[in-house]
Amino acid sequence: MNLTFENVTKMVGGTPHLYTADFTLGRGLNVLIGPTLAGKTTLLRLMAGLDQPTRGRVLVNGRDMADVPVRKRNVAMVYQQFINYPSFTVYDNIASPLRRAGIGKAAIDRRVRETADLVQIGDLLDRLPAELSGGQQQRTAMARALVKDADLLLFDEPLVNLDYKLREELRAEMREIFARREAIVVYATTEPLEALLLGGAVVVLDQGRVLQTGPTVSVFHHPQSVRVGQVFSDPPMNLIDGVVANGAAMLGGGIRLPLIAHLSGLSEGRYMFGLRANHLSITQGSIDDVAVAATTELAEVNGSETFIHVGHHGTSWVVQEEGVYPLGLGRPIQVFVNPRHVFAFDGDGMLVAAPRRRAHGLNG
């Protein structure tokens, strides 16, 4: 089973919301990542058949879907808002897609209960949506989507309106549920971390353009361009101009990075270097680390992490540190950069060298 976009362009009132998107999604989980207004919802609406492409074709298993109406397509969708029928109980909400399909009463009852148990609302079947918490309402909406064995399951940032504890819980459950499905699952999100936790394949979207597709983890480690690096990093990748000459990379402000590991193959010339915030540190981690003199601009404490914004020769970097660092502002600080973690992009912003991955997961 696959879903193909063939040079799809979507114009809304004269403004393009999607430019010549051309990609194929297979069964299993596909994450759609991009900042707000990237065109994620436009893409989902085209997939669902709620909108028609201005140019290009949307194919399911090679069949053009242009003249198949929405209700004839076997699609289910979950939204940011918790969408349920307000006057139906949880049971009737979950049963509604099945009743429409004209399935027998006993079969409906069995599937409703199964699905409700799957998303852990088996004991809430008699309640009305208004009597549920946000998390339970979204579970009900998910159950409505999951109950009907759709070929195409679409999730439009389903967790943004929930608190983070619930998000983690639901995310883990969804990952398991998706793994057992035959359907093509498309999950839109703005968050790189969410994409990585869900895994699967990824479509990176920015300003209406599909920038890169591929397995989620490998796209994360090999962002084809600066822009992918930016979109697929939170906080966005730190960038700095530099020149490779005489066996070293000279970055703005007199930083000299030795060309070791993956950087050793760089030829002389101008580059854009990119560094993820979690690879910058205010403590020296290894002997390869290069110290950079900077000034603290802002320290944001976020849970158990601190995002330290530092200024260095007119550019601003973000350093992500585990733990809480109450730092004074405008103070000099040393930031450590390890050349092994630096991405190198050429003058057109395309990837030239990516850090080699170590065996363990996300730190590569």
Partner: protein, 288 residues
């Protein structure tokens, strides 16, 4: 935290107490005062107990007015609520057309009540009125000053024209508050237009429609100025609603005692029915 007791805090309540006293308690008690006494002059008054209440409750004309009033309010709700919802559903959702239709709809609500009556007197005059002359020109004999049915039709028309926009505005606000995702979900489910209305729009409008029904009931039950100006309660007593009857007793005949007793009963009826409507509407939709 430890609670401290300071009696001076009562001073802070005084302004509210004074305002409520002058706006509600004192006028109400004045009416109660009148309703239990027979007053002949400044120093001549007799306590009569519930005598006026008994008299009022057995008043034939009051019974008729009350019946007329229920019929009128019932018709108002039956016509204005569905009509208001239908218009709200048909209105443009956004853009300049939405703003324009909102402004046009709100116009009747901005006209002073007594002017409304005057407008409709002229509008329905058989000789020069746009509506009256047209209808009579079609060969239909229509005159609200002569025929009771014509008077009713005219008063209803005026009321519907004047107040349906309020229902529309409330329903429209309720509809606008429904996220677009509901409609998308409905079209993915393959829901019909009727199902969208019945299972999404109507339940989502329950809150605003409760308010609309309460407001329209109370307001139409208390109607006075428009029919007073238009028909003066006539022809005969055909459009003598409760408040018109009340004013006839109080101002026309200067029977302050019965009028006061009447006012209290009137007030209690409105209160009772508003409460009943509220309770009923709270349960509708919840129990489905």
């Amino acid at each position: 935290m430890e609670k401290t007791k300071d009696n001076r805090a009562w001073f802070l309540v005084i302004p509210v107490f004074v305002i409520v006293a002058f706006s509600a308690i004192i006028p109400l008690m004045t009416v109660v005062n009148y309703s239990v006494q027979d007053i002949f002059g400044p120093n001549e008054r007799f306590f009569v107990g519930v005598e006026w209440f008994k008299e009022i409750l057995h008043d034939e004309r009051l019974h008729e007015a009350l019946l007329r009033q229920f019929l009128f309010s019932g018709l108002v709700l039956l016509i204005e609520i569905p009509l208001g919802v239908a218009i709200a559903l048909a209105m443009p959702k956004k853009g300049w057309a939405a703003s324009l239709s909102l402004v046009l709809l709100a116009l009747p609500l901005l006209i002073p009540w007594n002017v409304i009556g005057t407008i409709w007197i002229i509008f329905t005059r058989p000789d020069i009125g746009l509506l009256g002359a047209t209808i009579n020109g079609l060969g239909i004999d229509f005159d609200h000053t002569a025929a009771p049915l014509d008077a009713w039709i005219t008063v209803m028309l005026m009321e519907v024209w004047h107040w349906t926009p309020l229902v529309v505005l409330l329903a429209y606000a309720g509809l606008q508050a429904i996220p677009d995702a509901f409609y998308q979900a409905a079209s993915i489910d393959g829901a019909s237009r009727w199902a969208v209305f019945r299972y999404i729009q109507l339940p989502k409008m329950r809150g605003v429609l409760t308010i609309a029904i309460l407001l329209r009931f109370m307001d139409s039950f208390l109607i006075y100025a428009e029919p007073f100006v238009l028909t003066g309660g006539g022809p005969g007593n055909a459009t003598t609603f409760l408040s018109i009857h009340l004013v006839k007793i109080a101002v026309g005949q200067f029977d302050l005692g019965p009028a006061a007793a009447f006012s209290i009963i009137y007030f209690l009826i409105v209160l009772l029915f508003s409460w009943l409507f509220y309770q009923a509407l709270q349960n509708v939709g919840k129990g489905e």
